[in-house]
């Protein structure tokens, strides 16, 4: 009797398993076709680290206070600084990020008081040569140009000021990157691409402006 019971329950459960897989045959796949479809990275994503610049002047927000370098658990950040004799402000002369050791913990972003460093949702940073993973200051600034961010201080004020400027800045493309603190949900890919293009030009102009 036991054998009969075991056999019938066995057959039932085998068929049940078949039913479960058959059911799934008609469900929509949940995976993404990666290079064609892309995941929309959340606001807080901790991917590539960038240095943020002031949207108006195009200069780095960094004041070389060394807080991030101190907070970094793996000592990935190297900073050298100088003091501007006129404004009495510190500015970095060297800012290197060693992404080979970086663990993307985000402690540098949490430590920063000047909106200077940010972990972004950019994730395609594989290279064929290891030495390219040592990010220099210019590069970090360049990839950070199109990053939108909210100012920790004076956020609301700046956003209002920058809002009208943004349109003119983008169209004329004369003034460097008017990527403001404005928090708009502009999600479509095309818009982003357009921004990449426009922000591409100020990239070269940015440092020139500075030297002038």
């Amino acid at each position: 009797m036991g054998l009969v019971k075991e056999t019938t329950s066995g057959i039932y459960n085998l068929l049940l398993g078949l039913w479960v897989t058959f059911k799934h045959l008609f469900r929509k796949p949940v995976t993404l076709q990666y290079p064609d479809e892309r995941w929309e990275m959340p606001e807080r994503s901790r991917g590539t680290i960038v240095l943020l610049s002031d949207p108006e002047t195009g200069e780095l927000n960094c004041t070389a206070c060394m807080l991030c370098a101190k907070a970094c658990p793996v000592a990935a950040i190297t900073i050298e600084r100088k003091k501007d004799p006129e404004t009495k402000k510190n500015y970095p002369t060297l800012f290197t990020l060693d992404t080979t050791v970086c663990c993307y913990c985000g402690l540098c972003e949490q430590a920063c008081n000047f909106d200077a460093i940010k972990l972004t949702g950019k994730y395609e940073f594989s290279v064929s040569d290891k030495s390219e993973l040592l990010y220099e200051m210019d590069f970090l600034q360049e990839i950070g140009r199109d990053v939108k961010y909210v100012k920790k201080k004076k956020a609301a004020k700046k956003a209002k000021k920058a809002a009208p400027k943004k349109d003119t800045g983008e169209k004329s493309a004369e003034k460097p990157a008017a990527k403001t603190a404005e928090e708009k949900k502009e999600d479509s890919n095309e818009e982003d691409k357009a921004k990449d293009k426009t922000s591409g030009e100020p990239k070269e102009k940015g440092p020139e402006d500075k030297t002038e």
Binding site: L18, F22, P29, V30
Partner: protein, 346 residues
């Protein structure tokens, strides 16, 4: 109609008109061989793609999507990749045996197609011992797996080879016995005659007279083809890849090829013996060519095999043996006895 037999007849007549009889035999032998090889290769290419798609959709994935429409060229791309791969031979391997193992596997898998009727009249040679021949020739696979496992000089592959020997020989017994019921009813060993006897409506199919025999056959055949849940010779999780762990490139592809060919073989046998071969389920559906019915039934059977694979865990080697000897074999005997009674009574 789209029946293929007249085309082959026409080719035969044409050859007869231009060549002496001896050469006709030679040319037609090679020709049919090439056709079988080609048709089977196409099937294998399709099965590999299909299996990927079936498994993917059962798991809510897409599967291959990038080469061709829904990745239908993926298998060809993989084949090209396998051709380009470096062909490694382990230093301590028994080279001759190592090289011949995939060949034996490949050839044994193909030889079964001599007596499989793909459609009305589409058979290479209607042997009067057709079933016996197929049973004999498919067992050859075990030799090749044992050769591969032994010659690789790897402990994992040796274990895989030993497992396959034990498994296939064990399951050969219930497999052969399960077919005896059909033979008793049909009173012939010829594949064509068996198909002809199942003509008409679908209730003439032998599966309705031999349900037990069919179940035993199908399970044993799954084991013969090394498909999950009986794929213990190559259990990836235990034996890494079993008998073919040291094979790479085209040699590995030949094993792979043979596995999928075997899947088609067992489906074709099941269709021929139990599901009316090339016959339509109802006489009024006869306008569809016979070979389409045959292929369609085979594909359905192959789908069921894939379905099994992507649903069940793998059984353990001792349970597999116990299942064969303690469950399948008695069941096959019961089937024979019942069939005998049935024939005696009706």
């Amino acid at each position: 109609m789209l029946e293929l037999r007249p085309i082959f007849d026409a080719i035969g007549e044409f050859l007869n008109s231009i060549l002496p009889e001896f050469w006709v035999t030679i040319v037609s032998a090679f020709g049919t061989g090439a056709i079988i090889l080609g048709v089977a290769s196409v099937f294998v290419l399709f099965f590999v793609w299909w299996e990927r798609k079936v498994s993917a959709h059962m798991q809510q994935r897409y599967g291959p999507m990038r080469t061709g429409w829904h990745g239908w060229l993926q298998t060809i791309a993989d084949g090209v990749k396998l051709l380009q791969k470096e062909d490694l031979i382990p230093r301590d391997a028994d080279k001759l045996v190592y090289l011949f193992a995939p060949v034996v596997c490949f050839v044994a898998a193909f030889l079964a197609y001599v007596t499989i009727p793909f459609g009305e009249g589409l058979i290479v040679q209607d042997l009067n011992i057709g079933i016996l021949y197929i049973i004999a020739i498919t067992t050859f696979t075990v030799v090749s797996l044992l050769m591969a496992g032994w010659a690789s000089h790897n402990k994992w592959s040796l274990l895989g080879g030993m497992r396959s020997a034990a498994q296939i020989i064990s399951y050969e017994v219930p497999l052969s016995l399960s077919l005896i019921g059909v033979i008793m009813i049909a009173e012939t060993l010829s594949m064509v005659s068996i198909v002809v006897q199942q003509e008409g409506w679908f209730w003439n199919w032998y599966v309705f007279r031999q349900p037990l025999g069919f179940i035993v056959y199908y399970i044993a055949a799954t084991a013969e083809a090394n498909r999950t849940p009986f794929d213990i010779p190559e259990a990836e999780q235990e034996l890494v890849a079993g008998y073919n762990v040291e094979y790479s490139g085209m040699k590995w592809a030949m094993f792979f090829f043979a596995e999928y060919i075997n899947m088609l073989t067992i489906s074709a046998i099941a269709v021929t013996l139990f599901f009316g071969g090339w016959h339509a389920p109802a006489p009024f559906l006869d306008f569809i060519p016979s070979w389409i019915w045959f292929v369609g039934k085979c594909l359905l059977s192959v789908f069921v095999l894939m379905w099994f694979r992507w649903t069940y865990p793998r059984v353990r080697v001792d349970q597999l043996m116990a299942f064969a000897w303690k469950f399948m074999l008695p069941l096959a005997f019961v089937n024979i006895i019942l069939t005998g009674f049935g024939i005696y009574l009706f």
